[in-house]
Symmetry: C2
Subunit: 562 residues, 2 copies
């Protein structure tokens, strides 16, 4: 699944399980739905029987009437396009027949849609010994279900039971037995058979012997080391002596594939078979062939066993959630198009408010800000703009595409233009270009400017985008806030006649607000194009929060003439 199409690259394929339930959530329909979801598929389910069950065993079974199984099948298949199906516990002959006839009524006949891939996990007996498929149902499964099955996935015990239906005694104790049994099972009608060898002791020597005896056998040792992986040889022991878990796939085309991985010593195996067939169904729904689907399914299941966390006092469930990460930032939606910026503001609401509603801003809005504070501010802003221009140059140097390089260049040009405007604005306040140049840089200016450059040096493009955001968005917020307050009756904001009118008009004006909108989209795009892990998200918030603090410090500096 790790190589498969990514979630939200499109509509998740819909898949279906036809199986029994497990109240404790580790096996059956529950395990299937968890596997479907964590593999990016939309799950539907037809319940053949309910069980009262936990990690110590099956306490009771309550089967569905066959007619109700048919009704569930009709409800789903008449409404939803299903891309793959798996069957698990079918319980009795009536339900098994209901499933087979139900599927045939919807698929494969004249003027009916093609049957989607069907994985049949022939669940017969629970690990704890509870009968999950009545004996007369086995025959129905073979005669009615196998012929429309893409892949049947018995363990050795189930294979023995199925193959002994014609009266002969079959024992599966070795890899040779497995290969031979897989071929016999294939003769019963399914397009392919995956015989699971979890309970049979096999070593690498056995595998090599089987391969040397049969040219039609290919080996997939995903769980062991492949060629040119000497450096990954970390185990102390020679793998040729390891106990292996081996699954044998035999397909209609005559090819036998042996999947080899180390045997894991674990009690978290509840629901392993259910999960494997569900994961294979997902891979088939995504368009993988049977061999690749088997490889993906066995890897998913195996990792789930190894990543299990404790549940219950018996054989606990494997962990279905190992394949997913929880999103740190929600996806943008029509009603919340800027979830990331919103989270940044919410995560730093105190300091953000202290910045955008700073006394400097309030007094500026009132028109009462001391002239010398404003002059100190615009002189330091001149120095800051140099950092700002350089930071966009660094962003350009870190850009992967021409549009990104273009955007950086454009901002650098804008900064240079703004410096000219800024200088003539300063001149109106009696500050010459020369005075701007010779004014010493305040520590607050250096702290802010150098922090942005340092962030840009240390991190990637996205970190620098975060560092540059607090300035762009904060001044935009200040502009809009002042204009909004000014529009209220008897406002504290003095608009006309305010000595700082031009400053307020600039930051609340269309030109600057367009830049804010572009910046907002850029920030959101970082999160959509490369959804951050929790660690990266925290780092982004830290940078944003630091810059917000440094912005507040910049106005503290102006007010204190520091």
């Amino acid at each position: 699944m790790f190589s498969a199409a990514h979630l939200y690259d499109g509509t998740p394929p819909a898949v279906m399980t036809i199986a029994g339930t497990d109240s404790s959530g580790g096996a059956g329909v529950q395990a299937d739905l968890k596997a479907f979801t964590t593999l990016g598929c939309y799950g539907t389910s037809i319940i053949t029987a309910m069980t009262a069950q936990n990690t110590t065993g099956v306490q009771n079974v309550h089967p569905s009437p066959p007619e109700f199984v048919r009704q569930q099948l009709n409800s789903v298949l008449s409404d939803i396009k299903i891309q793959a199906i798996k069957t698990g516990m079918l319980f009795d002959a009536g339900n098994t027949l209901a499933v087979a006839t139900g599927l045939k009524a919807h698929f494969g006949g004249p003027s009916l849609p093609t049957m989607p891939p069907l994985v049949c996990d022939p669940v017969c007996v629970s690990t704890s010994g509870h009968t999950l498929l009545q004996s007369d149902a086995v025959k129905v499964m073979i005669t009615d279900l196998f012929p429309i099955t893409t892949l049947v996935t018995p363990n050795s015990q189930e294979a023995e039971l199925i193959l002994s239906q014609d009266g002969q005694q079959i024992n599966i104790n070795s890899l040779e037995d497995m290969v031979s049994a897989a071929k016999k099972l294939r003769d019963l009608g399914p397009a392919a058979v995956l015989l699971k060898g979890g309970h049979i002791s096999i070593t690498m020597k056995d595998v090599e012997r089987a391969c040397s005896l049969n040219a039609d056998i290919e080996l997939v040792q995903d769980g062991l080391l492949e060629d040119n992986m000497e450096i990954l040889q970390v185990a102390e022991t020679d793998p040729s002596t390891w106990q292996l878990a081996v699954d044998v796939l035999h397909q209609k085309n005559g090819v036998t594939t042996i999947f080899v991985r180390p045997r894991i010593d674990s009690t978290s195996t509840h629901g392993t078979g259910c999960t494997l067939s569900a994961a294979i169904a997902c891979a088939l729904a995504k368009g993988h062939n049977i061999k690749d689907a088997t490889r993906l399914g066995t890897t998913y299941t195996h990792t789930g066993i190894e990543m299990a966390f404790p549940v219950g006092s018996g054989y606990g469930p494997l962990n279905h959630m190992h394949s997913i990460i929880l999103r740190s930032i929600p996806l943008p939606t029509p009603s919340i198009p800027h979830p990331f910026t919103r989270l940044l503001i919410q995560a730093t609401s105190g300091i953000w408010k202290a910045y955008v509603e700073h006394d400097f801003v309030r007094q500026l809005g009132e028109g009462t800000l001391p002239r010398e504070c404003f002059i100190h501010f615009i002189k330091q802003d001149y120095h800051y703009l140099k950092y700002y221009g350089r930071a966009y140059a660094l962003l350009g140097a870190k850009s992967p595409s021409f549009p990104a390089i273009h955007a950086s260049a454009q901002t650098m040009l804008n900064v240079v233009t703004e410096v000219k405007t800024h200088a003539s604005f300063c001149a109106q306040w009696g500050v010459s270009r020369k005075e701007l140049e010779i004014t010493p840089e305040s520590p607050a200016t250096t702290a802010y400017g150098a922090f942005i450059m340092d962030t840009g040096l240390q991190g990637d493009r996205s970190k620098l985008v975060m560092a540059l955001a607090a300035c762009l968005l904060g001044y935009g917020e200040v502009g809009l806030w002042l204009r909004k307050e000014a529009s209220k009756p008897n406002s504290w904001v003095k608009w006309e006649g305010n000595p700082y009118l031009k400053w307020m008009e600039d930051y609340s004006g269309e030109h600057y607000q367009n830049a804010v909108r572009t910046g907002l989209e850029a920030i959101e795009m970082e999160a959509v194009a490369d959804p951050p892990s929790r660690a990266r998200f925290n780092e982004w918030v830290r940078i944003w929060g630091r810059c917000t603090t440094l912005e507040k410090g910049f106005w503290d500096m102006a007010m204190g003439l520091l």
Copy 2:
């Protein structure tokens, strides 16, 4: 959920749903299990009834016998520690009573564990009009279940039905009605009531009036804009005129909270109520209080509606998978401790093999490599080492911690020491230090060295780690491969007496292999500490593949004396 503890920060909490099933997967137990899983919780389920259902309606219902509901409850509660419970469709009086008495038998009494938070979604009628709770069951729910309920979550229709049990007619058509009904529902016993107003038309003016009339009302406008978010005002219309979806939470402490968000025009609302109560249960299981849990649950559900993809021909399900990302790299397990390095090698197997089994390596192993090729190689390697040292300096400059700075400094010192050894090694081959200095740098050397530096400039620490990996790991692989081949009978590798013996001994030796192991762990740690999105993973593979190609080019250069 986005602010909640992250998956794999510990064991996921186990939660339980007690509800009916939905074969089409969008509502009921299936929706609950999907919500649990995508919110990082372990889901268990007690089935009260099965339905044959799809997006167009409920076709049939098959209830569980009350005794079987009790058995399922016993199976789960006797084995698994449940951190939160939700109830959905209970169907009839018998099952409602079985649930209430079953829970009381396990929790809350003398010498029994404390009752975990219980969210009761009083599902009564399906959207399509199907009765999901028989009328005599409503009374049982009120008398037996409400007193042990943490939060009951009716919609207005269900609230009307519950409140009219004592004969009086209740109509809920406005926000005032909602607030008043929520208080009356609270009087029936639950610790808190969340009255969902999805079907009632309310504007911001209504909300402001309600807040001004009642000092005990607080407002949560997560779905709208909060203070200091003027820049996020992207809609064209004034939000005060919007149609809102409003939920009213009333708690035992007398506080009423109004949750406000824009009304969404969507037909993907199948399973909304189930999902909301399931998501709230997850948040409660993680330790959030009722208000925060409600905020998280409503946001999750709302986003699910907005992110819905098409399923079925009627009212489709919301999207439960919006909160997750599929992992690009599996987590390390005991049997596969280096999954990321393995993926890198598998993703570039062709070029990796061409690099580590290059003719240069083969001839070197045979001892037949022309002397001038080897000399050309070691002269260029001298230039390459300068890039290598500088690249680790850059890595140091990008390091966030003293251990990381220390590791970079140590590698830089190792490079400087290696240069001395390299120079005396070269001297043995008749190449003086001076000749090393004046040898022009080959384009292949510049390409490789400058690519590493450029990658380091462009990206963050992790990108530079990927760029440095192909050299470290590749030479380790070559050393181990040659040693392994040499150990075979009649090997093509000439070990003793090989003119390049020292080179082979160095790279297969303990000292270098220890460095390989440290490098391997560092690469894996990048993926574990900051699991990459698909885009980042592809970028890492691209860099690794490029460096592998440039390594091969380095040996092409040596063979061609370019």
